[in-house]
Symmetry: C2
């Protein structure tokens, strides 16, 4: 049994919430999952989350000192509230921290999920070594978090780290945010599948393996599988996505001169299919010094969002 301080972390998604019990070094000692059921309201969700946290501790015979929530949306971490989230609308404005604290009597952190993942990557992937790092989260959307001077950097109103809405192509592809040319419009899962569909319907896309994607569903995973089988369309999609991701990461490094960039999230499982074109862009830039200094890697540990949330719980006073 670990003698280290323990904490519960939850990665609260629109459909499911992943819950873990971890030690301060980032080792996961137990984990479970509940349905979020946002439509039933925040109070019922927090009650079930508290019950799951209590069960996790009871079953493992371990005791947590803190709990942290990572939530997709605009989070006011000082107030412990979710300001707004498209996927968790009923939770908006509710005093999440105060309520959860009244249920569990633990130190409680409420944080944006990408910020939580950044903190998880900083502690668990990079062992708190770098002075400055950025984390890019690749999923339906593209998000991110920043750790500057070894502290989570939230910006002035807690909205910092929105790497996915950096413009990489003036008047480019349409993003879910409504603007054009955002990194997310190319590297978000819908940007990738949209690009694949376009190529599949073109003259050289007729024979693409992607027409026979499992279940007829075009996903980043299906594009990865096809690319690994040598499919030209699938390879072109990752090359395009990685190119734009490389441009965004280069801009970020020029601005922040970070030591490390860690790429995480479901879509990052494509691994070298993403990393190779990213590194190609970074090496192609003549102004090399800050780019050469920064190490780019794909996060290897699972559940970095829940882990980071747990660790942020331990940082609360």
């Amino acid at each position: 049994v670990s003698k280290k301080k323990l904490a519960i972390g939850a990665d609260v998604g629109g459909t499911y919430s992943k819950i873990i019990l971890a030690d301060e070094a980032g080792r996961i000692l137990a984990d479970t999952q509940i349905e979020t059921q946002a439509s039933r309201g925040p109070k019922k969700f927090l009650r079930r989350l508290a019950d799951a946290a209590i069960s996790l501790q009871r079953q493992s015979g371990l005791r947590a000192k803190a709990i942290g929530l990572g939530i997709a949306g605009d989070v006011d971490s000082e107030a412990g509230k979710l300001r707004f989230s498209p996927n968790l609308k009923p939770f908006s404005g509710f005093p999440l921290r105060r309520t959860l604290q009244s249920y569990l009597h633990l130190r409680t952190a409420v944080e944006n999920d990408a910020n939580a993942a950044a903190w998880g990557a900083f502690v668990c992937e990079l062992k708190r070594r770098p002075l400055n790092m950025a984390c890019v989260t690749l999923g339906t959307g593209v998000g991110g978090g920043l750790v500057l001077n070894r502290k989570l950097f939230r910006g002035s109103t807690g909205s910092g780290g929105e790497i996915g809405h950096m413009c990489v192509e003036a008047d480019g592809a349409l993003c879910h945010c409504g603007a054009r040319g955002c990194l997310e419009a190319y590297m978000g899962s819908y940007g990738l599948t949209g690009a694949a569909e376009k190529l599949m319907s073109g003259p050289s896309g007729r024979k693409s393996l992607l027409h026979r994607a499992p279940g007829g569903k075009l996903t980043p995973q299906a594009i990865t599988d096809a690319a690994l089988k040598g499919d030209a369309v699938a390879k072109a999609v990752w090359k395009m996505g990685g190119y734009y991701l490389g441009l965004g990461i280069a801009s970020l490094i020029y601005l922040l001169n970070v030591d490390n960039v860690v790429i995480v999230g479901g879509v990052s499982k494509a691994g070298r299919l993403i990393l190779d074109p990213v590194i190609k862009v970074l090496r192609s830039k003549p102004f090399q010094a800050p780019l050469k200094h920064a190490r780019i890697r794909i996060g290897q540990k699972p559940h970095l969002g829940a882990l980071g949330a747990a660790l942020l719980g331990l940082e609360e006073r």
Copy 2:
């Protein structure tokens, strides 16, 4: 006579160096200028700079407690050295701080000029109020500096704040750094004059006032003068530059969620000709919260680089 702490600040350029004596509130009490004469070497330059600093104090009857240098180039502010500068090659690697300290026996700071300007803008334009701010310097090149959590943020190796090399247009215009699509390629003075030349040679550019620019020299100032007289080409150039600057500033705000952006440097004298298209871009983005929070302004005080350097001198222990 000010009872506040005083400092000398120098903005060291490729041709001239501006030298000021200021108080800790950023009031300039005396100023002078010397030729940099970089080719004669750093020691001779620092000797003449020290002499000018002594004269400034003697003539004004005031005594400085510190001195700060703002230098265009890659500065190692911890070591007090210029790593490299295209315009001050003979100074590269020379122990600037140690040598100047041995001449004047004052607390001495050596800083990148855009970082110094950012600090000057933070203290003198914004009275240290914002938690987070960015400064964009517009001149031949486009640079910048960041003040995060009310401290100058230099990045991991002192190269942070390179706003001008953020990519705003994949595979776009050629930048002096050798890459394509950097903000500087559009908004650096050469990007602006290059765009003007293109438009002037086009069918609707024949009658542009810019063909009669004073001394036949196409400069940002000449483009401003023509735009204020209603010249269509000149107006289009500022609209284009401001559009790309707006895209870069929007990316910066999404990433860092700053309270303020201050635009400074010679080219910023175009004022509203730049600010209007920048604000138009920021207002056009549907994801508004962080953009709406940030206030954009053009710096009004002269010599912010020298001022910031002086104030950074006072911050040295």
